[in-house]
């Protein structure tokens, strides 16, 4: 019994000492800038920047291959701190990593519609019905929420209304930003 404890403890001590010594003897001086950047990043390891975690993103920033504005959890405050650290201009959060817009539906305010048919021509899925000088309306089940009908409307009577998620239309989410191959 005592020997067993001693043997296991002995193995652990020897290995611990060996690893401790190796950690000092074989220390690798990492790029200090990477460490600094990594300290600023929020360490959520969420991957929303498109890298596998905060440290890979920090490496990419230090290397210059990634912009400083790809970290949604860090927000503007972190982008400012990164800009200070690296001596570059502040940039707003990149669109590529911004939250995807919620799925929404075009709704025509029928009291404002003048019946110009411009939105009908713009709609790629023929989800808007109506005729010249007649009120138009959107077929809710056909609308894809593409927003193409918004710019042509001369009276701005079309609004995008977000669709509430419920049991009927809930789906598994795709990752917002596919991971880059390591």
């Amino acid at each position: 019994m005592i020997t067993a404890v001693l043997v296991v403890a002995g193995i652990a001590v020897v290995l611990g000492a060996l690893l401790g010594y190796a950690a000092i003897r074989f220390r690798v001086e990492g790029n200090p800038v990477v460490q600094e950047i990594d300290k600023i990043l929020p360490q959520t390891q969420c991957g929303q920047c498109g890298f596998a975690g905060c440290h890979p993103y920090a490496e990419a920033i230090a290397e210059g291959s990634a912009d400083i504005n790809r970290c949604p959890p860090g927000g503007e405050r972190n982008i400012r701190r990164l800009a200070d650290l690296l001596g570059v201009e502040f940039k707003p959060l990149s669109d590529e990593v911004a939250e995807p817009k919620p799925k929404s539906l075009a709704v025509i305010d029928e009291s404002l519609c003048i019946g110009c048919t411009l939105c009908i021509q713009a709609c790629p899925v023929d989800a808007i019905v109506g005729a010249s000088k007649q009120m138009h309306t959107v077929i809710a089940s056909e609308c894809t929420g593409c927003e193409l009908c918004l710019p042509p409307c001369p009276v701005d009577c079309i609004a995008m209304v977000p669709i509430e998620e419920d049991l009927g239309n809930w789906r598994w989410k795709y990752p917002a930003n596919p991971l880059k191959a390591a």
Partner: protein, 191 residues
């Protein structure tokens, strides 16, 4: 000399660690999507497994002996984890190139059951020191061979017209099963 050659043939083909002993399936399925990563994983495993076989033989022979045989699993796990850590540090310092290739696979190896399985088999079969080394290197070579072959097949499968229900892991499992059948063909060649 002949016995060492037999050990190599036996571990690579006849008693292949993945296909016949069914150990190390996690990296076998996980890291076999691309040929290069399969090569990297295979090389890293070979390196660690050979070292671990030697070290665990020494521990088993001189530290544990027959009295403390029940401690083999525990102490082997500790030693393997230690060796992997140490290897990672040394490689990182001495050869950044090699670290680039093997680096991310080294921590994975700690949890590879093939790496624990081979030292345990060594202890079970009462192999000598050199035999243990050959057994470890052979087992790892078998692992690498299977991993590389499987990765090559999976790369081809990417382009193949697989029925939708079988896509992804399902076809990989079927491929692995067929490959295992093929390796069964070696049985009886050597003990």
């Amino acid at each position: 000399m002949e016995q060492y050659l037999l050990i190599l043939v036996s571990t690579v083909f006849v008693n292949n660690i993945v296909m016949v002993k069914v150990l190390g399936l996690c990296p076998f399925m996980g890291v076999s999507r691309k040929l290069e990563t399969a090569m990297g994983m295979g090389l890293a495993t070979t390196f660690v497994l050979t070292l671990a076989s030697g070290a665990s033989y020494l521990i088993n022979r001189y530290l544990l002996g027959p009295d403390l045989a029940y401690l083999t699993t525990l102490s082997f796990i500790v030693v393997i984890a230690g060796i992997v850590q140490l290897t990672e540090m040394v490689i990182r310092k001495t050869s950044p190139m090699l670290y680039q290739v093997l680096g991310i696979y080294l921590p994975l190896i700690t949890t590879n059951c093939a790496v624990l399985g081979i030292p345990l088999l060594n202890a079970q079969e009462k192999h000598g020191f050199v035999e243990s080394l050959f057994f470890g290197a052979g087992g790892a070579a078998g692992f690498t061979l299977v991993l590389v072959l499987f990765a090559a097949m999976r790369e081809r499968l990417e382009g193949a017209d697989v029925p939708p229900v079988f896509r992804g892991s399902a076809i990989a499992m079927i491929t692995a099963g067929l490959m295992s059948l093929a390796f069964m063909g070696f049985s009886g060649l050597v003990r």
